[in-house]
Amino acid sequence: MSKHFSNTGSKLLSADLILTALKEAFVKLNPAVMVRNPVMFTVEVGTVIMIALCIILAVSPDESQGGLFYNLLITIILFLTILFANFAESIAEARGKAQAESLRKTRQDTPANLILKDGSISKIMSSELKKGDVILISEGEIIPSDGEIIKGIATIDESAITGESAPVIREAGGDRSGVTGGTKVLSDRIKVLISIEKGESFLDKMIMLVEGASRQKTPNEIALSILLSGFTIMFLIVTVTLEPFGRYSETPIALASLIALFVCLIPTTIGGLLSAIGIAGMDRALKANVIAKSGKAVETAGDIDTLLLDKTGTITIGNRKATKFYALNGFDEKVFTNYCALSSMSDETPEGKSIIELAGKTQPEIYKTRTEDLKIFKFTAQTRMSGVDMKDGTQVRKGAFDVISKLISDNGEPVPDTMVSIVKNIAEDGGTPLAVAVNGKAAGVIQLEDIIKTGIQERFKRLRKMGVKTVMVTGDNPLTAKFIANAAGVDDYIAEAKPEDKMNYIIKEQQSGKLVAMMGDGTNDAPALAQADVGVSMNSGTQAAKDAGNMVDLDNDPTKLIEVVEIGKQLLITRGAVTTFSIANDVAKYFAIVPALFVLSIPGLQLLNIMNLSSPQSAILSAVIFNALIIPMLIPLALKGVAYKPVGAEKLLARNIFIYGLGGIIVPFIAIKLIDIILTLLGVI
């Protein structure tokens, strides 16, 4: 992950950010803003009541309310509780914005050459560009906005976005025609069609997701908010009814103590951190260089049942490589290797290059071959073979076995059994055989093989433990596909895949109720990307693909989906864990506050004071102070997220219940006692 903004990552908790967040925390005190968070809003209402009470007490002292000093302390702590919660949200926002800013910096206002209708060129600023404009970008210029190349080919430095220093090639017409604003053209000239309105770029959308105010709550977050509101109402009932209970028991309860009990019982910890957790989740996605179009998409990623992955680039490194030459029919091994290399001389495909590379290992002189002496026979869809005609008239042809064997038979030559068996063996071992004929005579076979990425088996094992089924999509024949699928450890494969096969597979999975994710870049991937529940398009992909998916991966890294799934899960786990912790805390708070409320008139209840807190007022203060302090203490957890381990649902639940449930019961007992000791030592109460 080193390439992902490691430079900005270290600065994410700088003094600057904290200062901005502090300022924001006060701004967010506005009730109109607070009301978005019902739990914390009730705390604000409680604080306002306490401020009013303090003013009344300052004017006409009333000892039954516990003295002005005690009331002031409670008021201040309640106020701090709200401030801490607001701070948690602001710091998450500030971090997210800083992350987004560093991306946005790459797209500062740059000049653009707008091509007018009459063909003339007009210089304007990138901020004036509209969707549908066509611009010309030359060597050394910054691409002013996201768009699609409609003419030309260029090498582009995308390091500003992806952090990857190697330049990439983008060209019109193919599946790699997308360009991103802020990247730089290193060579050549391209015409680009601007594909977005200003303010609508994916980045702008992402920035909205890390801003609390404009952020849309995700479905699970909405459900959790409802649950938390329910808890708040429940504890409101508990506290309000306690007042007449107290009067019946001839123990009037001070208003400050009732409000303190209420604030301690309602889930302020999760209420205060909920928004920060959501923002931090989006921020983590952004840090992984994934731009999500909605928070829902990231959350859905955590629920994915089936993952469609392209073989090339995901499971295997790049493309197939030549790994062995088999000379046949009396051809000398060395001569055969030479023929193979020559036939690939002008072959720009990765396979072709790899043949020369392999040949070059034993015959370095190959590289010195003069290509002008050769007549290149190009691969076409009709002939389905490529090769070379040499000066001496020798014709070398290579291609798929069925094509070459037809050529040989048409030439009246026999297809040797050894060739058939070698071809069969290669295919069975997951390789791709290329048959070679020289002057219409069987000459040998080139073995091409896929190199499976190291460590990919572990990633698939991890996915399987998460409950995600992986499906490999490949254009290979079923035999090869099966071999690679087994070697890599994917659960299923689609061989000889046509674009519509992906679509059909997704629909089939969805019909059985599964959620499907896929990654794609081409225009013909667009329908499938749109159909999938989570569609990640590559940034280098076509605009159609980017529009169809709900996430864009800036790194163009096909294994990114695995990270996105984990980010989605982490988001839910963090919310669940902090909720559990928050509610579990109530046990200790009860044992602090309930005896404190009644112990003066019901001495027997002193036995419930199991923490042996020094005085009723100190007990209540300690509980409220703990309740306030736990929010900033958990901010790092909220921002980082609870670690996700794919160990199966039951084990994961047991682990989290143990840490956050049991821990949530024990921690406050210790902390409240400690705060009580400190308060007593300081002589506050």
Partner: protein
């Protein structure tokens, strides 16, 4: 082993052994499969024909709830009219006078809602006609309503898709004829053979050994006792309920009646396992229920057997334990077990005076009603548990990083909203009722004279008020009885609490079930949490404890807990 300990264990074991085949049978009844009681079919069809309903009509959750509410409203009208005019009607050999309107309201609501809070005494407040066509009848159909509501949820959970939850009328009637009636016949026969009377003659004049003439109340007791125990009703024929020697003559009847309290609530969970073909799931639920039940029962038995510290302070030895308010033929252990069984199942019958239990027993009895899910009432026990399951699924779903799901159906905002409303209605009605009573008491100048509710103010009086609202809210119906509750305030307040406490917790979960039924099904994967796992049971148990205990803790602290600390050795 000590027989005081052995008896409770034996009762629970026997109950579970009978509950397994019974559960299997109940599942068959719900599914409409063939059973050996199919000879009831003509009778059932006759009733359907008269009522003009089609028992095979498929209904969604809304139609079923509409049916449930309609028929319950009719029963309410039926009950209140007859109660208010019982003096004008026949079968009233002891010339019992008509009920006062608020008491009639309270009683009608009480029996319709399966609560059977009795603000009257059976032998002096209700004629034989009332006992049979109102009380006995409602004890059958209100139990049938609960069982049928649970069957709707069963169906919803078994549906892969679609909104058909079955037919409430069909399920309700079959619950009565196929489940409650045969069991009631068996239990009634056992009671009759052990001396419980069945007669339509009025009270008998008897000359005692001391030569006094006393009037001994009697009547058609056995059938009413059978259904009151089986249907988690609890409304006794006589005021003292199953402490009365005619309702509960001996050890055998006590054993039978205690087992009858638990049998259907336990069997319903086994039925769930057979119905859904998820036996492990029902074992998980039963384990949670049994664990909670044992915690409550063990505490209560321990404290009852240890006697009353105040009496000990007087220097009186209590070899049998706390015998105040208990029947000598049952003793403290079986009385304590009954106290917990009757409160945690929403039954409400008693075989001892709960007002005289030790404070910790009162605490456990109230917790049993406040949690209301450790077995719970017939049908509604599972329904309450279902709400807790939904909440537990949600919390634990988040913690494993998947959108929470139950049996492949996602649990989302709409379901959580209903579940939390149902969960908070329970403390709302109990606590606000008690708060209102506390306020009236605290605000009145001389409550002991002007209000006269409480004979023991202080903590015990608070417990009595909290108990009364808890019992009404949980549709339990038992009382601590120290409270003079036959006043317009208590009749109306408890009546409202019973209505809300009955129907919201039925409508809500059935609605959730309806939503879940119609949702898209997602097959389970390695990442999804299995709701039959041990760890899910732990979460479920914690959710019940936290929702229950945390909400009622301050109230309980001021009542039984304070009382306990004040009389401790």
């Amino acid at each position: 082993m000590n027989t005081e300990i052995l008896s409770p264990v034996l009762i629970i074991v026997v109950t579970f052994i009978i509950a397994v085949p019974l559960g299997k049978y109940i599942a068959k009844v719900f599914k409409g499969e063939k059973t050996f009681l199919d000879f009831f079919a003509p009778l059932e069809n006759f009733i359907f024909r008269i009522a003009g309903t089609d028992p095979q009509k498929e209904m969604d959750w809304k139609e079923n709830i509409k049916a449930l509410l309609t028929i319950n409203f009719l029963w309410f009208l039926w009950a209140i009219v007859i109660l208010a005019f019982q003096n004008l009607l026949f079968m009233n050999p002891d010339n019992i006078i008509a009920m006062e309107p608020t008491q009639a309201f309270n009683t009608a609501v009480s029996f319709m809602t399966n609560t059977n809070l009795q603000h009257y005494s059976g032998e002096t407040g209700a004629s034989y006609l009332i006992q049979l066509i109102v009380f006995c009848f409602l004890q059958f159909v209100s139990a049938g309503t609960g069982i049928a509501a649970a069957a709707l949820v069963f169906k919803a959970l078994s549906n892969r898709s679609g909104s058909n939850l079955g037919n409430f009328y069909n399920l309700m009637l079959k619950s009565c004829t196929r489940i409650l009636l045969p069991l009631a016949v068996i239990v009634a026969l056992i009671l009759i053979f052990n001396g419980t009377p069945v007669t339509f003659q009025g009270a008998e004049q008897v000359i005692t050994l001391q030569g006094d003439t006393v009037s001994v109340a009697r009547g058609p007791v056995a059938p009413m006792v059978a259904i009151k125990q089986l249907g988690t009703n609890g409304g006794g024929f006589f005021g003292p309920n199953s402490a009365h020697p005619f309702e509960n003559p001996n050890y055998i009847t006590n054993f039978t009646e205690l087992a009858s309290i638990l049998i259907i609530p336990v069997a319903m969970i086994f039925a769930l396992g057979y119905y859904l073909n998820r036996r492990k799931f029902s074992v998980m639920i039963l384990s949670v229920m049994l664990l909670g039940f044992i915690c409550l029962a063990a505490s209560s038995i321990y404290f009852e057997m240890n006697g009353n510290p105040e009496i000990e302070k007087l220097g009186i030895s209590q070899p049998l334990g706390n015998m105040e308010g208990k029947e000598v033929r049952f003793g403290p252990s079986l009385s304590a077990l009954w106290g917990i069984a009757t409160t945690s199942t929403s039954n409400g019958s008693v075989n001892s005076m709960h007002d005289s239990s030790t404070p910790i027993s009162n605490l456990m009895q109230m917790l049993g009603m406040q949690l209301n899910a450790f077995f719970g009432g017939v049908g509604v026990g599972f329904i309450n548990m279902f709400v807790f399951i939904i909440l537990a699924v949600f919390i634990s779903g988040l913690m494993v990083g998947r959108t929470p799901e139950l049996f492949g159906k996602k649990i989302e905002a709409k379901e959580i909203k209903i579940a939390i409303i149902v969960a908070l209605i329970h403390p709302l009605i109990i606590l606000s009722g008690t708060a209102l009573a506390s306020h009236i008491w605290a605000a009145s100048a001389d409550p002991a004279v002007s209000l006269k509710w409480l004979n023991n103010p202080s903590f015990h009086g608070f417990s009595e008020m909290l108990y009364e609202f808890t019992s009404s809210g949980a549709n339990n119906g038992s009382g601590m009885e120290g409270l003079s509750d036959n006043t317009p305030f208590w009749n109306i307040a408890a009546g409202i609490v019973m209505l809300v406490g009955r129907f919201i917790p039925i409508i809500g979960p059935v609605a959730i079930a309806g939503f879940i039924s119609a949702k898209k099904f997602t097959p389970e994967s390695a990442g999804s949490l299995k709701p039959d796992s041990v760890i899910f049971g732990v979460v479920l148990f914690s959710v019940i404890l936290i929702l229950g205990a945390l909400l009622f803790f301050p109230g309980l602290a001021l009542g039984p807990v304070s009382e306990y600390f004040s009389i401790m050795k």
